[in-house]
Each structure stands twice: as structure tokens, then as C-alpha cells.
């Protein structure tokens, strides 16, 4: 376990070595992204773009056919598209990381050719902003599973309320719009929130995130 309920800065914890579970934070100033932050966020986005492409091509058609009888169930897949925002935010831990990662991933979809045309860029912005708001609410000091779940859920709310309600399900009755929103939020919370958090934790354990705060948390928990 590398996550913690502590919201203290590591510096403040330095004197108490018996509390290994600290939340590692990005170097300050927060807005000054390192080169590797930018490149890693962009590369993660492109890798997720590869997976979106595979998902869109091989899995989504099957699932959407399976849920054709009851379309809101299809929205249970929404979380898959929110994962880049949550993972980008949990790895980089700087303002803008969720938005940048989600937007670059959306660009990959746009250039490859996709179902929704340039609307993916609008979706990318809305989804990224949803996660950004939650992180800002916690002042970029907490990156645990709760934050990830809230981020995934709010990301889904932004996507659905400001875009999909108008475009995809404009003629649904109000009740079905609410069901649709509920399915999306559950998906965002579970797939993007819990899934994204587990993914980052697993990646950190392989040493692949050593240059980032999650990798630092793993190292610190090993040292003690």
C-alpha cells in the first residue's frame, strides 16, 4: 500500500520515519512542468489512443450491439474513455495533467478516424476538466482512491450533462436521461476511478513510475 489518508507534505513528515505512508507530491512550483512530465503525459495519451482504437474496433461494436435493447447500459462503458484523465492526473500530479492527457488521447482518436468527428475534442476537454476540478478541490495534495473515484464520476457528469444530453440522447424522456447519467457516473467512478487508481499503483510497483510521485511512494514504503 502506498496511498494514505495523510494530507501532509512529505517535508513535514520527514522527522517522523515511523509514518511511511505519505502522499508524494510533484516538485514545486506546481505549474512548472518538467520536460518528462509533458512527454510522459503525451506518451500515455498516445498509448491510450492505441487502446481506444482497439476497443472501438474490436470490443465496442459487440458491446453496443449487446446493449442495443437497453441503450443506457452502453453508457456503462463510458469510464473506459475517462481513464487517461484519471491516470494522467494521478501520475503527474500537476494542475492540467488530466486535461492535457485526455485532450491528446482525443486527438489520437480524431486523427485516426472515429465515430464522433471533432466532438471527441470537446468531450476530451469536458472529461479532463471534470477530473481537474476534483483535484483542485483537494488542492492537489490528495491522490488516493477517493479522489480518483470522485474525479471519474465528475468527469462523467461533465461529459454527459454538457454534451451527451444534447447530442446523443436529446430526445430521451427526463427519466431516461437521469438513468443514462447514473450509468455514466457509475462507470466513471468504477472503471476510470478505481481502475485508474489500481493501474497507477500497479505501474508504480514495476518501477516504471520512478520519476514521478507514485514511484517515490513505492520507494519510501520499501525503505522502511
Amino acid at each position: 500500500m502506498t496511498q494514505t489518508r495523510s494530507t501532509k507534505l512529505p517535508r513535514q513528515n520527514a522527522g517522523t520515519p515511523r509514518t511511511p505512508r505519505t502522499t508524494a507530491l510533484a516538485t514545486r512550483p506546481l505549474m512548472r512542468w518538467r520536460g518528462i512530465d509533458l512527454i510522459t503525459a503525451a506518451m500515455l495519451a498516445v498509448a491510450f489512443g492505441v487502446m481506444f482504437w482497439g476497443f472501438d474496433t474490436f470490443i465496442y461494436p459487440i458491446l453496443s450491439t449487446a446493449t442495443a435493447g437497453f441503450p443506457p447500459l452502453g453508457e456503462l462503458m463510458l469510464g473506459v474513455w475517462l481513464v487517461p484523465a484519471v491516470v494522467g492526473a494521478l501520475v503527474i500530479r500537476r494542475p492540467g495533467a488530466a486535461l492535457f492527457t485526455e485532450l491528446v488521447a482525443a486527438n489520437v482518436e480524431l486523427f485516426l478516424g472515429n465515430k464522433w468527428g471533432a466532438a471527441v475534442l470537446l468531450s476530451g476537454v469536458l472529461q479532463g476538466v471534470g477530473v481537474e476540478l476534483v483535484l483542485a478541490l483537494f488542492r492537489h495534495r490528495r491522490f488516493g482512491v477517493v479522489v480518483a473515484v470522485l474525479g471519474g464520476a465528475l468527469s462523467a457528469v461533465f461529459e454527459i450533462v454538457f454534451y451527451e444530453w444534447q447530442s446523443y440522447v436529446g430526445e430521451y424522456s427526463s427519466m431516461w436521461k437521469a438513468v443514462y447519467l447514473g450509468c455514466g457516473m457509475v462507470s466513471g467512478a468504477v472503471i476510470a476511478g478505481v481502475g485508474g487508481w489500481l493501474l497507477v499503483r500497479a505501474l508504480a510497483r514495476t518501477g516504471a513510475l520512478n520519476a514521478f510521485p507514485p514511484g517515490q511512494e513505492v520507494r519510501e514504503s520499501h525503505l522502511i
Binding site: 510522459t40 503525451a42 500515455l44 498516445v46 489520437v108 447530442s167 424522456s173 525503505l223
Partner: protein
Amino acid sequence: MPSPLVRKFVSPTSSETMPPETVRTPAPPAMQGAVVELRDLTWRPFGRREPVLADISLRIEAGSRVLVSGPSGSGKSTLLRALAGVLSTTETGDLTGSVLVDGSPASGSSVALMMQDPGDALVAGRVGRDVAFGPESFGMARGEIWSRVRSALACVGFPYDQDHATSALSGGETQRLALAGVLALTPRLVLLDEPTSMLDPAAATVVREAIIDAVRASGATLVMVEHQLSDWVHEVDRLVVLDSAGRVSADGPVAMTLASSADHLAAQGVWVPSVAAPRPLHVPRALCMPSRAGLAGFGRPGSVLVAAESVSVVRGARESVMSANQRAKPVEALQDVCAEVRAGQCVAVVGPSGAGKSTLTALLAGVDAPTQGLVRAGDGLSHGMGRQSREVVDRWTSLALAAGFGWVPQQAEQVVVARTVREDVLSTSRRLGLDDDAAQARVDALLEVLGLSALSGVDPHFLSGGEQRRLALAGAIAHGPSVLVLDEPSVGQDRLTWSAVAGVVVAARAAGVGVVLATHDPLLIALADRRITLLAGRVLEPETDPLPPPEQDVLSTVAPAARRFAGLAGRSGPLSLLLVSIMLVLGAPFISDLPTALAAIGVQIALAPMVLGIGALPWRRLMPGLFAVASVSFSNWLLSPGREISSGALAGLRVAFFVVPGVLLASRIDPSALGDHLGQRLRLPARPVVAAVAALHRFEGLGEHWDQLARIRRVRGLGPGRSPLARGRSVAALTFGLLIETLRQAGRMAVAMEARGFSAALTSAAPRTWAEPAPWRSDDSLMLALGLFVAAVPILFSHM
């Protein structure tokens, strides 16, 4: 060797900056190398108890050429990163002591770092633009950038023009491009990290000569890391040896240092010229015995295990994000090749890079399917296997394939299928349901022999390159396959890992396994019983003359998308296309009734010929969007208050309003050009834009990596199977593997980009410049006006 002429740059967008006449190779500016001074340099990354570099003090005189060597893990690459000032790019830790280049801390354009993997430095789709990255980062003017690009490419003898696609380069050419990329900054200190270790001998020679010529001409100080000393000892004047604790253990003129520490270095794995070639490790035959060896009628020595019957492989272009304006031609990787693998024999597949060695060996391992011809199991392998054995091997189930074959691809670090070293090697035996006690005993003995038993509980991702190579080898042989296929198993490996590879080959052959090696390594070739020589995808018979390689211009030239009338969109820049696509999305919600929807779509159809040109619609690209329109219509009909057909139609048309034009316009956007426009026209922050464009160029490579991971899992018996749950698990495993590779690549990319000044603008006054302009033409204004009009049709119509 440098080509005397630099061909003219032909990109229409930057012709204004190019002199029309052909340029002669300019003499590189003569200048002085840097003086480097290291004082008590110690570096301990956080999380490690011992420092990687300990108390290193060195003074390197201007213009001297220093070779740094030592066993793997001695901190050689770390030392180079410290000299380049990029030590903290990928790791955090305690740094004490100082690194001074010409008396000041290392930074800026005076220091150049070239990495081991040629692909790590690539940031652009075109050769010229890639070299321009460094000069752009340091804010040079456009004219200065391109004159540096020309002289740097001439300096490394680059054979193609500046418009050549970087994705069409061989490994050696890519490495020369990387060299040009660092020379464009006219560095006074050049740092090279095993620059030829991943290349075949012919390409390595060309790259080595390019390095030596370039460094000699510029007078720069050279510090390089290498564990293959013989090729370099005559080109350097000093050898520094690091020991496994990260200390300097020997330092002085090459001959002297070698005399004192040659045997010591060789024992630690370094290839030293005066020391005899290593011998294959003794691996007990029983550890490589095929699991089917006991069965009656199984593989007598010499019986055919697997045979390729006149196979050809044609590779189509991958799905690409960069395909906006280019069409890749299919490449013929293999042509009418026959090959056999026999029990108890070792066959070496040899030939120059790009000849099709990896392609043929992947076919023989059953992980790829030929485009034409068949790969079948022979009597020696198929005996007693039942119905499946009559199928071509690429159709075998994952389990059947694993039972017969072991395969290690060239990038052995990709082969990680479990959480610990021991579990990883055991996984295929368990999957095949072999006797567990026997399997465990065999795995433990294999790990012991290959020097991995101390690491058996460690996560495989933490192993060094050589250890990962040995792990992959153990995983390929532990379950007792009858055919063992190794692709370039010794490239870039030290003597210790070489011995392990050769030892497994010898033992497997003695146990009756049919061994296939794709290799350039003369020492390994000497172990083989037979050779198959490939040249340009064909088998080269010993008695025939070498065939001239066929023309290969895959992607190397840009085919214009269409000669016919391309429409307004074809003449518009990326920014106007993007803005119009987005405006349509914003206009769609104002479609509130069916007449408005029909009117809006009608206007689009009326304008389509003018905007999109005349020609067939790209239906394949449009299909997903049309599918989306249909599903939106259906669901809105189903869940609308009164189940009105009109509700479904309205919702579908509303989506079609932005999806169809959006998909068609987006297919004309070139991502690189979009980056230039976002940076220059919209003045977005340069670094995020540049990072995103560089990452987009890795899309195809990451896609290939995904395919490779899927092949590895299949041949290890971990293929997806049929059940949805197993498929899901398989996708999750592939995703995880892809993300790990992505993060590693990002780290190496960051080092290479930072060494070329990616973040230089943060500390200097000069903002980043752009090598290519971002013009806004009258066509763009027209496009934008039309887009605004169409997007506003729903609002206008509903107020009429």
C-alpha cells in the same frame, strides 16, 4: 564517405527559407572542444542504499577522446547523463560533487548526448524537421536552423533528402540521423552511449565512421560508453574503467589501461580485443529436453519438425495517425522462401538488416502467418498430436503452439508474463499442465545455471538488459518445446550473457530440439549446422549471384493525396479545418426540429462538392460515424416520451450534422502541421504542443508493440482463448505491458529531448522557434467563413 551534395529541400511550405541552388557540403565550423572537470561526483538515486556513481574525479582535456567501460551496472550511462546535465530527468536522488564543462555547470547547446537505441531520439516525421529540433529549442532564426540542418546531415553523410520520412529509415540510418540531430547544435562535448550496440556489423561500421569523421572535423571532446571495446580502441586516446561500485578502477592511455585490466574486464563481461572469445556456458542437456521426447515415434534426430513451403509475406501499412497526406505502399518482406527446421540441428538465418530474418523466424515459430504459402509441422513434431497438427501452425491454439515452440524476439525485455522471475519461467509449464514438481525442479535448475536464482523472487521489470535476455531464454525453453527460435539473441549483450545464450543453443540441440537463430554474430553462426542466407526477402543460394535488392520506397516519398480536384478542404490549413469541425459540434444543439435538421444537412450536402472535391467518399473511415448515427436514432426512438419515429430521426440527423463533415475534414489534417499552427498562430505554450506532436509520432510503434506482446503471450500458452473473461484478462495484460513500455520510452525520449534543449527556453531569454511557418491563406479564411455559415444554419433557420 559523406555525400558531396545535399539535395534541395522540396517542402513547399518552407521553400522561402531555402536557397534555390544546390548547396555544397560546408566545412563544419572549426572550434575547440570543451574541458570537462568532475570533482568527487557521487550520485545515489532515492530508494537505493549504495551510490551508482561514487567519488568520481576526472579531468578531460579539450579535444580528447575518452572511452568509458566497465561491467553492466557500473554506472557508465549514468556518468554520461551527469555530464549532459540530464541526470535528474528520469530519477530523483542525492547528487554531490560537481560537473563542470568549461568551468560552468553542464547545460545548454555545448553538450550533446546520443543514446543507445536509435529510435529514442526521433521527434518528427521528416528527416529535416527532426534535425531541426535542437536549433528550434534554442530559439534560432529559421534561416540559421535550416543551414545547420543541411550541414549536420552532410556531416554524417546522410543518404536522403530532408523530406524523407523518418519511419522509413533503417536502424543505422536512424542512428546517423540522431548524430546529425546532436551535431546541429555544434556541441563542444559529444557524449555517446553505446551508439552501435543495437546495429548489425555493416550498419555499425558506417555509423562509427560517421561519428569519428564528425568528431574529428569539429574538434569536439568525445566521451563514449561501450562494452564492445575492439572497434573503438584505435579511435580513442584514453580508457576509463568503472567498477561495479561505480568507482574509477583504471584510467589512462588505452594500451596501458588494457594491459592492466583486460582480463579483469573480460571476466566481468566486457568484450576486450586481446582476450579470446567466450565459450558457451555448460547447460545440462536435461534442462532443454523436449517434453514430448519420451513419446513413441517422436523426433528422431534429423526429422523435420517444421517446414515453410514457399512462403511470402507482404506487409500492409499500419493504421496511422500520421496518414493524413501519405499512402504507404505494402512491403514485400519475404518472397517465395522455403526453410526447414530439423530435430537436433541448429539453423542460422543470416543476411543484412531488412533482409527478412525476423519475418522468417517469426513464421517458423508459428507466431505470424504468411501471406502466401504454408508453414506446417513435420512428422517429427506433429506425431501423436491429433487433428490440430494437420493445420498450418499459425492457426494452432495458443496451448498447442506453446507445447511445440519456444520463441524469444529481438526485444527480450518485452517478454514479461508474470510477477516474479520464477513464476514467469514456470507459467508456460503450468499452463500446459506439465507435472508440477518436475517443472519446478527444472525451472530452478535453469535459473541456477543462467545465474538468475538469486533473482527468482524479483519482479522481472527490475532486471538489467542482460538478465532479461536470460530470463526470456529460460521462459522459452523451460516447458520443453521441440523448436526453439531466437531472434538476434546476442545483439548488444556482454560476454556473460553471450555464453548463456550459446550454452542454451548447444544444450537444446544436443537434447534433440530444432534451433533457429536469426543473427549477425559470427561466433553464434559458427555454432550452427546449416545456414539460410536471405537477401531482400529471398533465399540466396550459394551458387547464384546476389540479386539486386528491389526498389523499396515505402513511405519514403510523399504521394500527394489526390491529383484530382481536392476541394477547398484540400487547400486549407489544419487550423481552419479543425475550427470548422468544432463549430459544427457547437451548432448541432440548436437543431430543435426535423425541418431545421433537414435544412442544415441539405446545406451541407449542397456545399460538399465545393469543400471536399469530387471523388469517392472514404466509406471505411465513415462507417463508424454512420453506425453511431444509426444507434443514436434507434435509442432516442426507443426511450423518447412517445416513441415517435421523428424523435429518433431528429436525434440521428443532429449527430450526423457534425460527425460526417467532422470525420471527413479531420482526415485532411496533418498533426505535425497542426502543431506548428497551434504554436505560432494560436500561441499555445510551445512545450506541450511539441511533446504532443513528438508522442503522436510514436503511435505506430506502440501499435506494433501491442502486436508483439500478443505474439509473445500466444507462444507462451497465454493466448486469449474463447471465453469473454479470458479475453478481458488478456486485453488487460496487454494494456499493462504496453503502458510499461510507453513509460520507459517516454523516459528515454525525455532524456534525448532534454539533451537537445527541450526545456532550454525555461532558463534562457530566447523562446522556442519553429522551423516551418504556419501560413494562413485566403482559402483558410474562406473555409472558416463557410464553416461559420453552416454552423449557424440551425439558428438562422429556426428564426425564419
